[in-house]
């Protein structure tokens, strides 16, 4: 069922095949090369295709992402087109108005591209390096935890909970991100832990 032939490869093969058989069969042997030389390649033929799923609702429609550049080959890649995956049992290629416009979510003008900080009372964000931002977070976490970790309750029972820092997890991150997040948050003793399922 799962033929290991990308759509791009299929298009290339099919295109070449049609040209060879039809032209050849009609006796235009010499025309074939000329024809192939001037026909512009199908636009998607130069892209890398990747199977993914729509990140919005829980129908989780299958999608095919076409990118300019191949991540697996170590290249930078940019999404140029997204369409429904006709092999997917749930959506069989269809997408709703949200899924159909996914490319412009990935490439939205309001995508964040750099860490920023808003200082107390300031009227705008300013850029900050990852190093500085992460160090700042770690320092704040350690100081707040050391100051406010509740080790035992009034009855002397070890409770090891930390309530002055809270963590709100997402709704569209992967299971794998979720598990790593769980490990980090729980190991510190944070109990104000929730995700979008609550609402």
């Amino acid at each position: 069922m799962n033929i290991d032939l990308s759509r791009r490869g299929f298009l290339k093969l099919a295109g070449a095949g049609v040209a060879a058989t039809s032209l050849g069969a009609m006796g235009f042997g010499g025309a074939e090369a000329a024809e192939q030389a001037h026909v512009r390649a199908f636009k998607l033929a130069s892209t890398t295709e990747t199977r993914n799923t729509c990140p919005y609702c829980s129908v989780a429609c299958g999608i095919i992402i076409y990118s300019d550049g191949d991540l697996k080959a170590g290249e930078e890649a940019k999404v140029v087109h997204i369409e429904g995956d006709a092999d997917h049992p749930t959506n069989r290629g269809t997408l709703c108005p949200k899924g159909a416009a996914l490319k412009d979510f990935v490439n939205a003008e309001t995508r964040l591209t750099t860490p920023r900080i808003r200082r107390p009372g300031a009227a705008s964000f300013e850029e900050i390096s990852w190093e500085e931002a992460l160090d700042k977070i770690a320092r704040a976490l350690k100081d707040d935890r050391d100051a406010n970790m509740v080790l035992t309750n009034d009855d002397g029972v070890p409770v090891n909970r930390w309530t002055t820092t809270g963590y709100l997890a997402a709704s569209a991150t992967t299971n794998e991100t979720a598990w790593l997040t769980y490990k980090v948050v729980r190991s510190m003793g944070i109990v104000g832990f929730d995700n979008q399922a609550r609402v």
């Binding site: 129908v59 989780a60 991540l71 309001t110 490990k183 995700n195």
Partner: protein
């Protein structure tokens, strides 16, 4: 979902109540269309608005927001009165025959044991009579006056079609027509499916709404069968996964629990989790709790978790309250008791109730860290956007870090769809600029905190220093490594418990599935329900075989469905007591004399004889529960409760406000309105062109639905002098919004007794960031109170007022 999207094609009747699938889950809804086209299935919609789903329904009935329990209990009453019951199923697969204590009762809207001071019940009377043999007493004839069936009959007898008309505003004849359509599905060869979503959960008694329908489905024999089930249409793409993995205050992955202070040691914690069967011969699968729990502790802390130190039990926090859910955290934040807060891909400024309170709370933080692919309103809560976010920037002292993260197109990993399919996806693009994967960000934060503890020492560093972190690149654990941890691995050779000479999995190998989890520390596994997703066969979540033998809709080799690749939960209940399918044309499983065969992975042991072991293996009873003992805070049966803000008083007890056991903070109680001050009922909803507050960052979706509006009836517009497309001001006791008026025949005032109730609809997709016009969301208006069991905020039923306002003209 107990079933899957593709299974919906097998149904005879679809009931959409508490949801709007055609609008919110369009490509899943196609399976309803498929069932209608190929099976002649029919579609019923019950909703306050004539929705997009209603527009393609065979039958529609309006209902006042927040009155669903009356409708559902009246439906059960009608089915019982009219003998529309799947009797074999009810007798054998539910707790209808079990005998309940004499002390249990109900009067004036309340069950026995209510304490108004504590706003809580003493639930000890809500339980079975246990016989001398240690098992619950039963009367298989269902005649005993204290059996669950007799009590249910009595409980629902108050809910008549007349009461439905009076409380729900649903015309009696519409209710009766729907009752007849639903009643047909009590035949063993007819099934109905329930598709619901946040229209049922976002109430102060949301969990009881859902129980109401689950009970109805059990009475009709529709759970565990093809085309049946309770199908919760989850909102977001991985809400299911995040919940499965326990990213909530009180959870451990796989629906295990964080201990409370009342469980000071491992023995006490485990003693309440022995899950002894309540009927002879039953599986009571939670008896395996210790195996799941020990394997989880080994996944967290590896060699530091030993039998001698109770598997590092004290590394886990102990709760002093049921949960530190979002409402409690923002209450604490508003009281100045929270210093740091992290938002990972979540936008509370628009998602949590009473936005004024949320803004005030965020303004009291020392540091807010937002990780998101997009510019969220939360990250910009301190920025003045005129009427759309009118804050005094200079006075807000909160420091805010906005960290750019990757999105779905830029990472590998699995999301869990509504039907519990773990579907692996692959990255296709480079994150823009300096955006990084969440896994990298979390690892960086953790490693830096760990280093500080190593260098400086500090308070109780042990659980941080000993957290397992055996990743090839500690700076960025890979999705593959993390997925394998969730599946579980043998730490020592694992042998068959029945035959100790038989090696099942050698040390260091991936476990086959959770049947190989052990409680002696020889296995690790983070999330038992996912086990099998990545065993020695490889990544089963990445499987893409879309063959569907005999077109049952199961697609057994497409990705991986938890648990154990099972596609329909409780599937043993699809066959009768002899193991024959209730409906041979819709066979799921069948007993062949020696074992269960069919299209799905059976949920009881494959060789367990049909008469012996009940289908509901997770329950101590082996059967499903019409009466839920003391497991829910607000009653063993659903009883009618009005929303906290309701246009009419509770007919059973006019003194009772909202859910009598819901947690209410004092300052919020003062902000609940009465219908004298705010006479109009309101509800919130989403649109097909938008996804929450994300797609307004996308020009296409922003163009499709550019502007915030509220939906009101022609009658209300006439009464208030509101023009079609004119501006209106809508306000509650907590805030106000300005919107365009969509005047429509899709909403009609409802006659509830002697009161005419107007309802307005408020969609939720606008804010002050992104490509769409600036607008508001319903959370500027809604009350700060949650469901009594799970604290989901009451977004679907509240009170407002409305008047014409001025603004730019509309062409």
């Amino acid at each position: 979902m107990t079933n899957s999207w593709t299974d919906i094609k097998n149904t005879d009747l679809v009931v959409v109540m508490g949801g709007n699938a055609a609008e919110a889950h369009p490509c899943g809804f196609k399976w309803v269309t498929e069932a209608k086209a190929t099976r002649g299935a029919r579609l019923i919609v019950v909703d306050p608005r004539f929705t997009r789903t209603a527009s393609v329904a065979d039958y529609y009935a309006p209902i006042r927001p927040g009155s669903d329990i009356v409708f559902l209990m009246a439906m059960i009453n009608w089915l019982i009165q009219n003998d529309k019951v799947q009797w074999d199923y009810v007798k054998n697969f539910t707790n209808a025959p079990l005998i309940v204590k004499d002390e249990y009762g109900w009067s004036d809207g309340l069950f026995t044991g209510y304490d108004p001071e504590k706003r809580d019940y003493d639930k000890s009377s809500w339980d079975y009579v246990i016989g001398e043999d240690g098992f619950a007493a039963v009367d298989m004839a269902l005649e005993h006056p204290r059996c669950v069936w007799s009590l249910l009959k009595e409980h629902v007898s108050r809910y008549t079609p007349e009461l439905v008309e009076e409380v729900c505003g649903t015309p009696r004849d519409r209710f009766l027509k729907i009752a007849e359509m639903i009643g047909e599905c009590s035949a063993p060869d007819k099934t109905m499916t329930s598709m619901y979503a946040l229209g049922w959960t976002q109430h102060s008694k949301g969990a009881q709404n859902i129980r109401g329908m689950a009970m109805l489905q059990l009475i009709l024999g529709n759970i565990g069968v093809r085309g049946g089930g309770m199908n919760a249409l989850r909102g977001h793409s991985n809400i299911q996964g995040l919940t499965d993995i326990g990213l909530m205050s009180n959870l451990i992955p796989g629906y295990l629990n964080i201990p409370t202070e009342k469980e000071p040691d491992w023995q006490t914690y485990m003693s309440s989790r022995s899950f002894k069967p309540l009927r002879p011969g039953q599986t009571s699968y939670w008896q395996n709790y210790p195996k799941f729990m020990v394997s989880f502790m080994k996944a967290m802390w590896g060699d530091a978790a030993t039998a001698e130190n109770d598997w590092a039990y004290h590394y886990l926090p102990k709760l002093d309250v049921p949960t530190y859910d979002i409402l409690r955290m923002f209450e604490l934040m508003n009281a100045g008791q929270v210093n740091l807060y992290f938002c990972q891909g979540f936008n509370p400024l628009l998602s949590f109730p009473n936005r004024a309170k949320v803004t005030e709370a965020l303004s009291k933080l020392k540091l807010l860290v937002v990780m998101d692919p997009l510019e969220t309103e939360t990250a910009h809560f301190w920025e003045n956007h005129g009427e759309h976010n009118d804050v005094d920037t200079a006075s807000i002292q909160t420091e805010v870090l906005e960290l750019p993260s990757s999105c779905f197109a830029e990472d590998d990993g699995a999301l869990v769809n509504s039907g519990r399919w773990l579907q692996w996806h692959w990255s296709a693009a480079t994150p823009p600029g300096q955006a990084r994967h969440d896994t990298w960000i979390m690892a960086q934060i953790f490693l830096r905190v760990k280093k500080l503890y190593q260098e400086e020492g500090g308070v109780f560093p042990d659980p941080i220093l000993n957290l397992t972190w055996n990743y090839a690149d500690p700076d960025e654990p890979s999705p593959e490594e993390l997925a394998k941890e969730m599946n579980g691995r043998a730490l020592e050779d694992v042998y068959d418990t029945a035959d100790p000479t038989k090696l099942l999995t050698a040390r260091g190998k991936q476990l086959l599935n959770f049947s190989q989890y052990r409680d002696d520390g020889s296995t690790m596994g983070a999330c038992w329900i996912y086990s099998g997703c990545w065993n020695e066969d490889g990544n089963n979540m990445a499987r893409r075989d879309n063959a569907d033998p005999d077109e049952t809709g199961a697609y057994p080799n497409w990705t991986f469905s938890w648990p154990l690749n099972r596609r329909i939960l409780y599937n043993r209940a699809s066959a009768d007591m002899q193991g024959r399918p209730w409906d041979p044309s819709r066979k799921l499983l069948e007993w062949d004399g020696e074992k269960w065969t069919g299209y799905d992975v059976p949920d009881i042991a494959p060789t367990a004889k049909p008469g012996d072991v009940g289908p509901f293996i997770m329950n101590q009873e082996g059967v499903s529960r019409l009466f839920t003992r003391g497991m829910m805070r607000d009653g063993p049966f659903p009883t009618h409760m009005e929303p906290f803000e309701s246009p009419i008083a509770n007919v059973f007890n006019p003194q009772m406000r909202g859910n009598p056991v819901a947690r209410v903070f004092a300052s919020d109680a003062e902000q609940f309105a009465t219908s004298e001050e705010f006479p109009i009922a309101a509800t919130s909803y989403r649109l097909t062109e938008h996804f929450h507050y994300w797609t307004k960052h996308n020009r296409i979706n922003a163009a499709l639905q550019p502007e915030f509006f509220v939906e009101i009836s022609e009658e209300l517009a006439a009464e208030k002098g509101i023009r079609r497309g004119g501006w209106v001001r809508v306000w509650s006791k907590r805030g106000e919004v300005k919107a365009k008026a969509l005047v429509t025949g899709r909403l009609k005032p409802m006659q509830c007794g002697d009161k005419l109730v107007h309802v307005i609809g408020i969609p939720l997709h606008w804010g002050f960031m992104g490509a769409a016009r600036k607008g508001f969301g319903p959370n500027s208006l809604t009350p700060f109170v949650g469901d009594a069991n799970v604290e989901t905020p009451e977004f679907k039923a509240f009170l407002v007022n409305i008047e014409p306002a001025t603004g730019e003209a509309v062409s």
